[in-house]
Symmetry: C2
Subunit: 381 residues, 2 copies
């Protein structure tokens, strides 16, 4: 299992030390604390800093940094996996899953496709069984912002009338452009990744950074999926932790004196991201055809990759429904709803923001456990 | 100021002892605790059990119970007010506001209209300055359930295609009827009044009652607005508290031995509710014309009188926008958004369920304070 995020963000900083790893960063980077809901209760986990430039990962070939994009990342991640299996051959035949959130909704299907293609060579075979991720589109984000009372009826109407998100010239329309700016302005007031929680108070530097993260690059062939993650305070803790001399020394990334600067998201990578597939939906179709287990999930209080976006994406796949919409449960409460399609399961997490395990650690462990076992999400109270 | 709720529900059990009164019921009815955010920091408050049959209120004329409806209630509430002012004449000239939630969204405009009409007689004059309430419609409830991932795309599509909520024969269409049943079935799994919180666990009697409350009477001339309130556990505490012998004796409703049975909502009143205006929107127009200050607010995580319903209702009034959509703040966080129209202010409470002050006590005090002062909601962080 492998968890990635991005573009430019650290799966160690997010996934491992905020979400599903065995230890979670503690307030102000003072240390780490035991996570009773770590997913390694159910599976071995690898966290990959991908592509180069993320976290402490780097390349000695500086030209690499100029060509970063989805394909480069898939290639690189595959190269890593290949080498890792050479080094740890006893894991070669184990069942393999890929999980991730946010921009990983692109990385993961692309990497999975890469693995399937390479699997034709038996010596390179990776036993890929399933993927667990999310999916999004622009229209869903706009409808979500309106129905969750973040933008006005008027702004929603103008966007609906003037924006063509499947065009290459979306932003040449001033009405559309101005109204989307208005949407971003409103979202900058709260945490777009978690609509109903507070923003990290008292650290203005951090909130400024958050703002720039929301100001994603608006090109129609670059999906507006950015730097995943939640709670700028957790981000701050991770930053403090990974910039500690003793931590860097223990991780063998510095000698404990000449420190390396660690940031949770590399904005340069994000801003200069070159190659991004306009849509990974055809990849989904291919993976479904190959029998890869696919679960797509969404925290329903996340405005960044909102549940409506994920629904629109899945809907456009045109899959046949095999089990209709119903709740799934954890600890006698409704954790969310799910619907099963031929080849794909879609599930929501009720009241969870973008980084689902931060909000629902115990539910998300039960959910991933069902995924690994090949069961449906727990559907009895 | 006067707070009402319903139909059939107790404004003492809800408003006074769960929401904005000086004392709030404590766990399991053990007692009451001081409420630092009570609205009586800003105004004198009257809580009215309305109509007869609600809480400890009663009528000796049993025929009264057969004709309960909106108009009876407005009449009765006015009769109470009139007698109260006769008894406490020093309050006669004070500025008067009416506030309430849920079904009070109908009661309040109707009572306000009643007062305005009677005010033509100077001896009966009540200095009505403003009303603070919510508003709803069916279509908003359906769109809200869909956009908040409570119902599937498919159910939403069928309802959109087959239901005509402005018809008298809405329920004669089987597709519509079945799909609305499906919507209600999903909502019965969670707390419709607060989408992202838990339901009161361990008290199955209470959750059963909750279910029946959600199963509102579906007639098109009876608005589907039911028994307001939040958290079945708080309801249980209130029930335990008001059924205590010492409490009933202190309230002079029993001698402390022959107890009177108190319930937070009278289901008989709800089920047999006779006369309900199909829409109070014309009443709003009349009140706006008379210069009554009108604030309409909505907790944006309430599925029962959802923010979309309130928006659709306000939109159909066709008022001119005077101040466009923007956040309002409390304690440096976004409390919600608001928009000002000629004669009406609409505001949301971010992350609040149906009984807003239960979720956002301090925000709601600041909000009502601005309303009383004639200011806008606090619009600087």
């Amino acid at each position: 299992m492998l968890v990635v995020s991005g573009p430019g963000c650290s799966s160690v900083g997010y996934g491992a030390t905020q979400e599903i790893g065995p230890f979670i960063v503690d307030a102000n980077g003072n240390g780490i604390k035991y996570n009773p809901d770590s997913w390694n209760r159910e599976a071995n986990m690898l966290f990959l800093e991908s592509p180069v430039g993320v976290g402490f990962s780097y390349s000695n070939t500086s030209a690499d940094y100029n060509i970063l994009g989805d394909e480069f990342t898939a290639n690189d991640a595959y190269a890593f996996l290949h080498k890792w299996f050479l080094k740890f051959p006893s894991y070669r035949t184990r069942i393999f899953y890929i999980a991730g959130e946010s921009y990983a909704g692109k990385y993961i299907p692309e990497l999975a496709e890469f693995i399937l293609d390479r699997n034709k060579d038996a010596s390179l075979h990776i036993n890929l069984m399933g993927i667990l991720t999310d999916a999004e589109d622009w229209r869903g984000m706009v409808d979500y912002a309106w129905s969750h009372a973040v933008i006005s009826d008027e702004t929603h109407r103008v966007i609906s009338l003037s924006c063509n998100f499947s065009s290459d010239n979306t932003w040449s329309n001033n009405d559309c452009s101005d109204s989307v700016d208005e949407l971003l302005r409103q979202y900058r007031e709260i945490d777009i990744y978690s609509l109903y929680t507070s923003v990290c108070a008292g650290n203005s530097a951090s909130s400024d950074q958050k703002s720039t993260q929301v100001m994603f690059t608006r090109t129609s062939n670059m999906m507006p999926r950015v730097m995943g993650g939640y709670d700028p305070c957790l981000d701050d803790y991770a930053k403090a932790f990974y910039n500690r001399p003793d931590v860097q020394k223990a991780l063998h990334v510095s000698d404990g004196h000449r420190l390396r600067n660690w940031s949770i998201c590399n904005e340069k990578i994000f801003n200069e991201w070159k190659y991004s597939k306009p849509s990974v939906l055809p990849t989904y179709t291919k993976l479904i055809g190959a029998g890869v287990r696919i679960w797509v999930y969404s925290g329903d209080t996340d405005g960044r990759v909102p549940v409506l976006s994920t629904r629109y994406s899945i809907s456009s796949l045109g899959l046949k429904i095999t089990k209709s919409w119903r709740p799934w449960y954890h600890q006698r409460q409704v954790s969310g709803w799910f619907q099963e399609y031929e080849g794909l399961t879609f599930a929501t997490f009720r009241g969870a923001g973008h980084a689902v395990p931060v909000f629902k650690p115990s539910d998300s462990l039960a959910f991933s456990s069902a995924f690994l076992l090949g069961d449906a999400p727990p559907s009895a109270r």
